[in-house]
């Protein structure tokens, strides 16, 4: 059975701290690993990773994938209160052309001022 596990489930830090969120997976027909941010409703896309060892960066956020060890991390530096959200890791698995996303349970990040 396809499985995506995120840790920690919950994290509370102070503004300005750096955080690292973890995602490990066991998925057949792996195509990609995606990170989403979920605030109130819809997940909004952050990163898509398909190759090992290549860091993706967007401002204070960065992510990297290790396809040998089957995990990814999402780093957020100099956190701000607006970073408070649930961060979802999802693995894309392709079958017959279409792709389904298998989601982890999410990490709830709270940034205190």
């Amino acid at each position: 059975e396809d499985k995506v596990v995120q840790s920690p489930l919950s994290l509370v830090v102070h503004e300005g701290d750096t955080v690292t969120l973890n995602c490990s997976y066991e998925v057949t027909n792996f195509r990609s690993l995606l990170w989403y941010k979920q605030e109130k409703k819809a997940p909004t896309f952050l990163f898509m990773l398909t190759s090992s060892g290549i860091e993706k960066k967007s401002g204070r956020l960065s992510s990297i994938l290790d396809k040998k060890e089957l995990f990814s991390i999402l780093n957020i530096t100099a956190t701000q209160t607006g970073d408070s959200a649930v961060y979802l890791c999802a693995v894309g698995a392709t079958i017959q052309g279409a792709q389904k996303l298998v989601f982890g349970q999410g990490t709830r990040l709270t940034i205190n001022p």
Partner: protein, 116 residues
């Protein structure tokens, strides 16, 4: 910026009633998906749809569920006879292509379904 839209934002229904959740995917996208998220739980894949047919469905997507693309823009999820456990947030998503390309899925804002 183009976005996926969903209606209604909140639907309340009685157990046993039929509901239709509507989605308008991004216009040039070819693959469409439904996911659901029960309160406090993971986002779960329900079904993928391409070229007017189901590509894959999960074990959640039983005979009570159906999907349709009735015209060139809408993509609907029908639950024939709702159960209490169908209460969840239902997300529609779309991608320009499938397989090796365009793996990012764009999500709509969701429809919260409450079954009483």
């Amino acid at each position: 910026e183009p976005e996926v839209t969903q209606t209604p934002s909140h639907q309340v229904t009685q157990m046993g009633q039929e509901v239709i959740l509507r989605c308008v995917p991004i216009s040039n996208h070819l693959y469409f998906y439904w996911y659901r998220q029960i309160l406090g739980q993971k986002v779960e894949f329900l079904v993928s749809f391409y070229n007017n047919e189901i590509s894959e469905k999960s074990e959640i997507f039983d005979d009570q569920f159906s999907v349709e693309r009735p015209d060139g823009s809408n993509f609907t999820l029908k639950i024939r006879s709702t159960k209490l456990e169908d209460s969840a947030m239902y997300f529609c998503a779309s991608t320009p292509g499938g397989g090796a390309h365009y793996n990012e899925q764009f999500f709509g804002p969701g429809t919260r379904l409450t079954v009483l």
